[in-house]
Symmetry: C2
Subunit: 405 residues, 2 copies
């Protein structure tokens, strides 16, 4: 009897623990007798029929996925519409699946990718080809609904909060009057900028101000808060999400474009803010733009996050083999201290193409801070270290050459 | 009999291992019966008579300095001229030293600070007050002469190379055509940007191009190298020093100021480069500006660097008590593989106010790479991990409250 076969694909930007979900799926498939293929480069590769067979790779190599940032099979932002919108994609997909006798599909991605997964739940209805579909959550932005948090977020949060604590010590060395701005990712949500708050154990410790997309930027109020921080602590360390907007709802960094005589705006929200501070207060602020470092920091991955990413992949495979479909494996929080969680069956229809912003109860009354409720939320997610092996002074990540089929 | 007394000061920007030098000095002073004061905020604090007594702090607290980034006593960029230039500073300094019966001075800093140290060697001649002066090298820029490398550099190099390796995995996930720019510190020298090269184990791995201040930027040659990297590897990861200059010798990021209609240039060399690539090739490059993260990354300190920083502090105290003066403790490399080094007595007169750039034999013939000789040089410096204790998911740095005297 031939084994049933599934295909796994990754979608959207990588994270520090995306490969841990792949590891969970692969190891569980091995344990349960499922043949697991993966698509190179996400949905784009699947539609092109570019597949690899994970079965031929050694257990030792698979185990290393736990430590390795990036998306080992590649990712893409290719999406698929409804059957009515893109019947040719659906038929192409059916041909690829049929060619390899694949009847199970695992989609590991963010809200757009899980929206695709949701649409594909009706695959049999539209194509006559039986296909079970399960989603695995993934995004550093933490903006997925249906799950208490998203695998990937905890590790990015840990990286950013660690960096903020370290820079805080550096700033404190340098005496009074210093302003530092750390620009984090987060186009529409402030989960990552907010996470920096975990760095601070006392009011005087960095960060002092958080700028979140959930709170429209108000120049006068910001400058007053900056002044207050400088007066009280002699410094101001700011975490700013790339996607903060003005009162008009436009991204601040974009809003400036028209005002620079057609010149492309250089830098993002962080540099825009630094320029504002220079103009209004005569202070040269230092700007760190963390960019890909915050989602690729495998050397500082959260053990909680690695574990959750793994379990999501594991559970997804178990559910497929149990005949379930149309679900995402979601994290359900049972308790903050001690942190307890389990896995919930979340209908894909409740997840795809939606976005979870910081709720009001997580944002401080001043609009520049977070509440204790947020700290209680985020702290368990950054708990535990998962230090990779090092060689020659650097993390010894060993990319896997997946065998093409 | 009262103990002899020394004062220790830190100068210039902090590093991940500056406190390890302080630890070496303090623990050695305790061992050898020297009373050790420290100046708050470097030379500025010393001239103001703002001092603390390290003797009253527990051994346990001192041991934690090995892990903590920043400069625990504070730093300043305050310098002191020659006696002829600034007699009032010299007399103020004499009064502070005399008040506390201090006859030994330890200056932990970069080339400007060690230039001060050099000038103060003649303290007795000008003021009649006996003072032994020893310098301890410190700078992430690695531009000090008289020492094979500078404490601080190895840890920053390790941070940057680790980040480059991790981002390289992230980029590779995302498929063809990606350009990533990581802007490192380095106003005049390319040691930090060059260190990123340690990340690459194969030609296809990041980084693909290094832009060093030692090589004037040539747009046509750069674009050709970019095109070649994209054609060959499908991507281009670039490490650029903040201080790269055009053929006219001006910083590229500054040179543009006049061309932006009086608008302040936002971002630095990295954003400038991204704009060039967008204009000339239509590719949106991602930019990371690592800023303070690269010098505060205590969680990724190099064990070699921590050890060397410690030993420099240790040796400086030993030399003072042996009656030596006018020296800097320098690192002398005895062998690359295995890495062996000892401590050389370097006359301060050979060090102060000088600058060591990347020598030609370390720069690849194409101007965008380093040679094997550089890799042999840098690799031992990033060797070994010194992971700090973690608590609640973050490095558990515990700032010390130094007792004021």
């Amino acid at each position: 009897m031939t084994k049933p076969r599934a295909v796994y694909l990754q979608s959207g930007g990588p994270t520090a623990v995306l490969n841990a979900s792949a590891q969970g799926a692969i190891e569980t498939a091995r344990r349960l007798g499922l043949s697991l293929y993966a698509a190179y480069d996400g949905l784009a590769g699947l539609l092109d029929g570019r597949l690899c067979d994970t079965d031929g790779v050694s257990d030792t190599a698979i185990a290393q996925l736990a430590f390795m940032p990036g998306g080992s099979f590649g990712v893409s932002r290719r999406m698929i519409g409804t059957f009515e919108e893109a019947p040719e994609d659906w038929l192409r997909l059916r041909d690829v699946l049929a060619k390899h006798d694949i009847h199970y599909l695992l989609i590991n991605g963010g809200n757009g990718s899980l929206g695709c997964a949701e649409r594909l739940v009706d695959f049999e209805k539209h194509t006559g080809y039986k296909l079970g579909v399960i989603g695995i959550p993934k995004t550093i932005d933490n903006d997925l609904v249906g799950t208490d948090n998203s695998p990937g977020y905890g590790s990015s949060a840990k990286f950013l909060a660690s960096a903020m604590r370290e820079v805080g010590l550096d700033m404190t060395s340098m005496g009074w009057g210093r302003v530092f701005i750390m620009e984090t990712m987060g186009r529409h949500t402030g989960w990552l900028a907010a996470a920096c708050a975990a760095a601070s154990r006392n009011p005087h410790e960095a960060p002092h101000l958080l700028l979140l997309p959930e709170v429209p930027f108000d120049q006068a109020r910001f400058l007053a808060a900056l002044d207050a921080s400088l007066a009280k602590y002699g410094q101001c360390a700011i975490a700013v999400a790339e996607g903060i907007t003005g009162q008009d709802g436009r991204f601040v960094a974009e809003a400036k474009k028209s005002e620079t005589y057609g010149h492309e705006q250089l830098g993002g929200a962080g540099h825009w803010l630094a320029q504002l501070i220079l103009r209004e207060r005569g202070i040269s602020a230092h700007v760190a733009q963390v960019d890909y470092l915050q989602r690729a920091g495998g050397h500082l991955a959260s053990a909680t996050d690695v574990r959750q990413a793994y379990v999501m992949g594991e559970r997804a495979v178990e559910w497929l083999l149990a005949g379930k479909t149309g679900l995402m494996a979601g994290i359900r929080r049972l308790n903050d201290h001690p942190y307890c969680w389990d896995v919930a069956e979340v209908p894909l229809s409740a997840v795809g193409d939606k976005e979870k912003r910081l709720p009001p109860e997580f944002i401080g009354a001043d609009g520049f801070s977070v509440t204790q409720a947020f700290l209680d939320y985020v702290k368990p997610l950054i708990e535990g270290e998962r230090i990779p092996p090092f060689k020659d002074g650097l993390p010894d990540y060993r990319p896997i050459a997946w065998p093409r089929v």
